[in-house]
């Protein structure tokens, strides 16, 4: 059982004069899948980035806690896994080279067996030594799942997780999410009905304008 919790406290964000959302309050204390939904431009990706700690809100704060202790901002990245269409891996390196580089920069061990399992789960094992530049967009999306899961994060943030994926890829994602959410928190930002069906609760951003 994971003792990770997340508290969104009075978060507001605007870009210039344009208000994206305001006064979002939400907390997740147990292992579950939570959805974020809203029309295009409603701020789904913005909220996901704020939760990941890569974008600062204009007001409010996000509190990430592990075993009831607040996680410092500069340590947060090791607790979070992130997948999105706008996340880009190093295209001049192969998939394995990318993952080894990430392990070293994170300061964690490269778990060969676990990563082999992830490669097999995402059907990328045979292409693991190919340069990422030669991958299709669907393969790149699947590789991002390995990137997000390789350090066994407590919080998995998925922004449009099934974009660019075929039906087989989508099934693979749903299987990963179902399995991973048993012991961890998963947040999915999407408008896809099938993606949102996995969620036990959904945050509708239209309610925070």
């Amino acid at each position: 059982m994971n003792s990770y919790s997340l508290e969104i406290k009075n978060i507001s964000k605007n870009f210039g004069r344009r208000l994206i959302f305001q006064n979002i309050n939400y907390s997740i204390n147990s292992n579950s899948v939570v959805g974020i939904s809203g029309n295009n431009g409603s701020g789904k990706s913005t909220l996901i980035k704020i939760i990941a700690g890569v974008l600062a809100p204009n007001q409010g704060e996000i509190i990430h806690s592990f075993e009831s202790k607040k996680i410092a901002d500069d340590k947060l990245f090791n607790h979070i896994g992130f997948v999105s269409p706008y996340l880009i891996l190093y295209e001049e390196f192969s998939a394995v080279e990318n993952l080894k580089i990430f392990s070293k920069i994170r300061g964690i061990e490269y778990d060969t067996e676990y990563i082999k399992m992830l490669f097999n789960k995402t059907n990328l094992y045979s292409r693991r030594k190919d340069i990422v530049k030669t991958y299709s967009s669907g393969m790149k999306q699947r590789l991002k799942f390995i990137f997000a899961l390789m350090h066994k994060p407590d919080l998995l943030l998925l922004d449009e997780p099934t974009s660019n994926l075929d039906n087989e890829g989508k099934d693979s994602v749903y299987s990963i999410v179902s399995e991973y959410s048993k012991n961890n928190i998963v947040i999915i930002a999407s408008n896809e009905d099938l993606d949102l069906k996995l969620c036990s609760d959904i945050l509708y951003l239209e309610n925070y304008k």
Partner: protein, 221 residues
């Protein structure tokens, strides 16, 4: 943190060797700049003041043409978010600074050798002073270039903004280094150059402190 930063540095070196983002532009700039100066002075022997000034002009503009790549290449490739998700701001800044330090020193050692070989007026009489100036000058140049690169990487007009922002920040360093180079060509003793040396060392300390304090805010959107 040092091991993680070193891993980021190694990644940047491997990436640079595969993509040649910075090296090609730096080498071409040095060749073009030194050739242009050589053609313009012809057979004339230039004054030490001019030799020292031109030397730092080449160093300044070669830094302008290559050192911004550390952050700009991440932004152009779209990998900034990836880096934000795998490392703390301090790790990123240290790794990028290490890359720029090595690049600055390598490039400027080459510039110095080419310069010494082709310019008659560039005869060093206080070699220790020259080396100290070279070391602290290049450290200051690398620190300033790295933090400025992180600021301009997110802007639309990176190419224009980089020299514009760098000029006022690097001017005190460049002017002092030019003066120290004149002293090293003249063979001035250390007792008479302590003031200028203190300026360069202080500049480096101030820039590294300010950079680490500010980078967290620059790095997070």
């Amino acid at each position: 943190m040092i091991t993680k930063s070193y891993s980021l540095f190694v990644k940047d070196v491997k990436s640079e060797l595969r993509t040649r983002y910075a090296i090609n532009s730096l080498v071409m700039f040095i060749l073009v700049a030194i050739s242009a100066i050589l053609f313009s002075i012809g057979n004339e022997k230039i004054q030490p003041e001019l030799a020292a000034g031109l030397y730092w002009v080449v160093i300044f503009f070669s830094a302008m043409s290559g050192l911004s790549r550390a952050f700009v290449s991440e932004e152009e490739k779209g990998t900034t978010l990836t880096l934000q998700l795998i490392a703390s701001p301090d790790t990123v800044f240290t790794g990028k600074l290490l890359f720029n330090l090595i690049l600055t020193f390598l490039i400027n050692i080459i510039v110095t050798f080419i310069y010494a070989a082709f310019f008659e007026g560039f005869v060093i009489n206080n070699f220790v002073l020259f080396i100290i100036t070279f070391i602290f000058g290049n450290i200051g140049l690398a620190i300033s270039s790295t933090i400025i690169a992180s600021i301009i990487a997110k802007s639309g007009s990176k190419g224009t903004l980089y020299p514009v922002l760098s000029f006022p920040i690097l001017l005190p360093l460049i002017l002092t280094c030019v003066q120290l180079n004149i002293f090293s060509i003249d063979g001035t003793s250390f007792d008479n150059v302590l003031y200028e040396l203190a300026i360069v060392v202080s500049y480096d300390i101030i820039m590294i402190t300010v950079s680490y304090l500010l980078f967290d805010y620059i790095w997070k959107e």
